[in-house]
Amino acid sequence: MMQAALWLVAVLLALAPAGIALSMQKRGSAMLYGACLIVTTALVGIALLNLLDPAHPILSATLPVGLPWLGAHFRIDPLAAFFLVVVNFGGAAASLFALGYGRHEDSPARVLPFYPAYLAAMNIVVLSDDAFSFLVAWEFMSLTSWALVVSHHRKAENVRAGYIYLLMASFGTLALLLAFGVLAGGSGAYDFAAIRAAHPSANVASAVLLLVLIGAGSKAGLVPLHAWLPLAHPAAPSHVSGLMSGVMTKVAVYGFVRIVFDLLGPPEWWWSMVVLGVGGPSATLGVLYALMQRDAKRVLAYSTIENIGIIFVGLGLALAFKAEAMGWVAALAFTAALLHVFNHAIFKSLLFFGAGSVLNATGERDMEKLGGLIHRMPRTALAMLVGCVAISALPPFNGFVSEWLTFQAILLSPQLPSWGLKLIIPAVGGLLALAAALAAACFVKLFGVSFLSRARTPLAAEAREADRFSLAAMFVLAALCLIVGIFPGLFIDALAPAAKAMVGNSMPHQASLEWLTIVPIAESRSSYNGLLVFTFVLLSGSIASVAIHRLASDRLRRAPAWDCGYPDPNPAIQYTADSFSQPIRRVFGTVIFAAREIGEMPPPGSAHPARLTVSVHDLVWEVLYAPIGKVIAFTTEHINILQFLTIRRYLTLVFVALVLLLVVVAI
């Protein structure tokens, strides 16, 4: 089984050079994506076999590559199996989507070779069981995705996005490298088994936690390390954007979980405060950023930050309860986090695919140039709608279930002894609730502005429905959103072994409960039954419609919109994306984004139009990143003089160095 998995990954790697050749010919992209689809599906199968069979032994293997005296260790435990499912399911969906979408790629030679390598890299990260191969795969993942980000390199902003992305990624990798340096010590015991065995002292472990939070966090896009994400994810081709947002950020989460929950031994109580303190704000800020955007793909990228925040809140809670040895609650929080990992992978891929189809159909990412697409591309619209409802955490879809579980974990936090947590957790809960509500607003805006209302540009008016592969991919994901939403018990049970392995406990078995209800702790405490709610809504809705159409009228006339008596054929009068988010901008933005609105009214009698200029600042960028750039620029500018000294001055340098060293020796 292990061998099979490794062989499949090897196939993916082998597809990379094949991609160069395939990119030359016409059917090349279809062939490559088809191959990727098959391989990833097979990998999903393997992973599922490992995950669903509780009695399944933990697979491991060692290849004589990598560090000579170490070799490359690979291992599939339940956690790895779960993330393998996420990675490869996302990969399969993306490949399926790309079967259609990839046809429209104008420079396939810049995508095809890197795509399978990227998939392979993400797989190896999850599979690897020693620090070296883990980091190799981790950075290789960044590298390949960087290549994909700059695939449309003629746009300067894409190259810039790629540049920032690569810098941040390497920064994260180096942080992880230091973390492993601490864990493995100078001795070079790099395999995870050895690290697990050697229990680091509290201080060391804490240092590792911070380093990992930086390393994995920068990849996952936690605020304030998120700066690269909204630039890089949209720049890539849409199926890759889906992978980066939906899957790669999850691989980052995996890295965090693997090191902090698995390798690091028992947690300190205050770790959870750090994690929560990062996760909560990320959730709220991420979605607020998203609300300020006009670029559909950028909205999605920012909302990824939000969901990563939610996941880390879940993980933080798990840490807190684990530290207090409240295993079953820890299991609840942990399961919630993992379930959200899975859910977000699904609907974020779905949404990016939708945005990609729109991009294909209209050539536009700017929502304010879209509109009315539901008439032109109804199927895409339906799939997108499902995605939007799901990601807004609304029942009966999957997003709600994981957030509901997280809330349940938060409600148990009064039992924690530490005061700091007592105070921070409700606040985080509030942030989470805020994030959920804002997410709904954000996706009403996304869907309403680009799919509903009237077409704002001819491009949008002439849009054509996406091809069948893309639609297939989207509908598979949409269906899954619903299925997870109404049968959450099955998926929660699937996560049990992973939770058991990481927090030493697992949630009670759900699938056996009557009516497929999920009951995290006790029925008297809380329970939710997606299936019943869904059937109720379905039934009462259809009953109502049937009854009304039978008993009352079912006649319908078309007429111009009423609009309170001021109908206007010009689509420009509709609410735009910016005007839609204006109230929220005024409520939250003035502080968080230093958002300002300057309205210039023309003097009475003048024919000039009134102008409204809105300025929104990314304070994180301006406070954190811009100064770094300035410092570098300043230093390089001034140190550069050393290129232009005279030989005598250079000799002086040598002389001074000599004298200094002699002095050092003399004393």
Binding site: E637, I641, T646, R648, V654
Partner: protein, 220 residues
């Protein structure tokens, strides 16, 4: 080894340091060249003395080279170059002579300190010689970095190299000494020729840096 030999060697090495100081002090090219000739001559003497003391005849060759090549040919050649290139007589020093002298004294002190840490077990001559040689080397470097004039920088380099030869000959029974001195003479010849060929008038770095920036597109 008994007193007299030691004292003589010591005196010669010391006077070499003294010569270096004189070099440091000079601010006229011709005078500088003459002092250098003296410097080389002292070196020749001390090498010869070493040869005599160590009963190492091959060292006489080194001494001869020092005498002929460094004390006579090179100064003359440089003299003619100065005339040919019409370099003005003044040496503009980057550091005022007074400061340079103080720095020089500091360097000598430093080299003493460094070398006196050496266990007296190694015979005294070597130890003293090394101390002096080190000071000569450092002083040579000091000359190179405080003079703006190509010729005087070459002189500085040559005095530095004299220090090396002093050390090498002081190192009893060290092989390859002659070869090394020859090699260095060749090197110096190269430098001198270089100055002559490339018309490096003022300094090593006479070439206008700004022009180079333009050529290289390395403009700031």
């Amino acid at each position: 080894m008994h007193g007299l030999e030691f004292d003589v060697a010591h005196t010669l090495a010391g006077s070499l340091v003294l010569a270096s100081f004189m070099l440091l002090y000079q601010d006229r090219l011709y005078a500088l060249l003459n002092v250098y000739a003296l410097h080389a001559f002292v070196l020749a003497l001390s090498v010869a003395w070493q040869a005599f003391v160590q009963h190492a005849p091959h060292l006489y060759v080194t001494a001869a080279i020092a005498l002929l090549f460094k004390a006579i040919i090179i100064p003359v050649a440089l003299h003619r170059i100065i005339v040919r290139l019409g370099i003005h007589r003044e040496i503009e020093t980057a550091l005022s002579v007074g400061l340079t002298m103080i720095g020089g004294i500091g360097l000598v002190a430093l080299s003493m300190v460094v070398m006196l840490r050496v266990t007296p077990g190694a015979d005294a001559l070597a130890r003293e010689d090394l101390a002096f040689a080190l000071s000569v080397v450092l002083l040579g470097l000091l000359i190179m970095v405080t003079r703006r004039n190509a010729v005087s920088q070459v002189v500085g380099f040559m005095s530095l190299e004299n220090g090396l030869v002093l050390a090498a000959t002081g190192a009893k029974g060290m092989p390859l000494v002659v070869e090394i001195s020859v090699a260095f003479s060749v090197l110096i010849a190269f430098i001198v020729i270089g100055i002559f060929l490339f018309r490096i008038r003022e300094r090593f770095d006479s070439v206008d840096i700004a022009a180079l920036d333009r050529f290289r597109g390395e403009r700031r």
